[in-house]
């Protein structure tokens, strides 16, 4: 049974503490991969004041849990943690955290990348940039769709 934690929150998180939790008290974990997505201070060369993240409560958790379960089915993981913040996030602050633990590194790296690629395109979050007093919605990138598509399997090709 893989220890899975999914949380959507407005408060900041402690990435190092979350990673430590996954390996603590067990001896079957040989690799922990941690990815943290951070709010950049500029967009297209211009400084930004903040990001505002809107989400669909209930669906955001459900969608991430579905993909965490999918990751557990594909790779021999011993633990998965996904935290995603919403609300106003200032440059330099963390936005998203993915931690994957496994006996060996290959599974942990692959599962972390899989989860991030799916988070970008399937988890119901929308970013708005605050820049020079204006708020603009961030447009989805086709490169993110392509990154997620490479994980699709035959039985999901129609998704």
């Amino acid at each position: 049974m893989t220890a899975t934690t999914v949380r959507i929150q407005s408060e900041p998180f402690d990435a190092a503490a979350e990673a430590a939790k996954l390996a603590r008290g067990r001896t079957d974990t040989g690799a922990v991969v941690t990815f943290t997505g951070i709010c950049r201070g500029d967009e297209a060369g211009e400084p930004i004041a903040a990001l505002n993240l809107e989400h669909y409560p209930g669906m955001a958790e459900a969608e991430i849990e579905r993909h965490a379960a999918e990751a557990c089915a594909r790779w021999p993981l011993t633990g998965v943690t996904v935290l995603h913040r919403h609300g106003r996030i200032a440059p330099g602050e963390d936005i998203v955290l993915v931690v994957t633990a496994s006996s060996h590194r290959d599974a942990a790296f692959a599962a972390a990348e899989f989860l991030m690629d799916y988070l970008k395109t399937r988890a119901p979050f929308w970013k708005q940039v605050e820049k020079a007093g204006l708020k603009t919605w961030v447009e989805a990138k086709s490169t993110d769709d392509a990154a997620a598509a490479r994980w699709a399997r035959e039985d999901q090709a129609a998704e």
Binding site: Y56, E63, H84, M116, K120, T121, A123, P124, K127
Partner: protein, 83 residues
């Protein structure tokens, strides 16, 4: 049926959610988008490019040809930009 809107779809329509009575003949997600588009300028603006609109029924992603029969909550939103 409860309908929810997010991000710029919500801003264009001017409300986060509403209760609607779906008329007979509107059977799929795509048909519902078409019917909503005819409800006023704000809806026409929100759904002006139906191809970019994403939808969820009861908090799971669905495609335009998905039947809406039995749905409790249907949501419309732009392509997602989280992570």
């Amino acid at each position: 049926m409860k309908v929810r809107y997010f991000a710029w779809v919500r801003e264009r329509i001017g409300k986060p959610e509403e209760e609607i009575d779906v008329p007979p003949g509107v059977g799929t997600v795509g048909e519902l988008i078409g019917w909503l588009s005819g409800r006023g300028e704000e809806y026409a603006y929100a759904f002006e490019n139906p191809k970019v609109i994403r939808a969820a029924i009861d908090r799971a992603h669905v495609r335009p040809d998905t039947p809406i029969k039995g749905a409790g909550e249907i949501a419309f939103f732009p392509p997602m930009t989280g992570g």
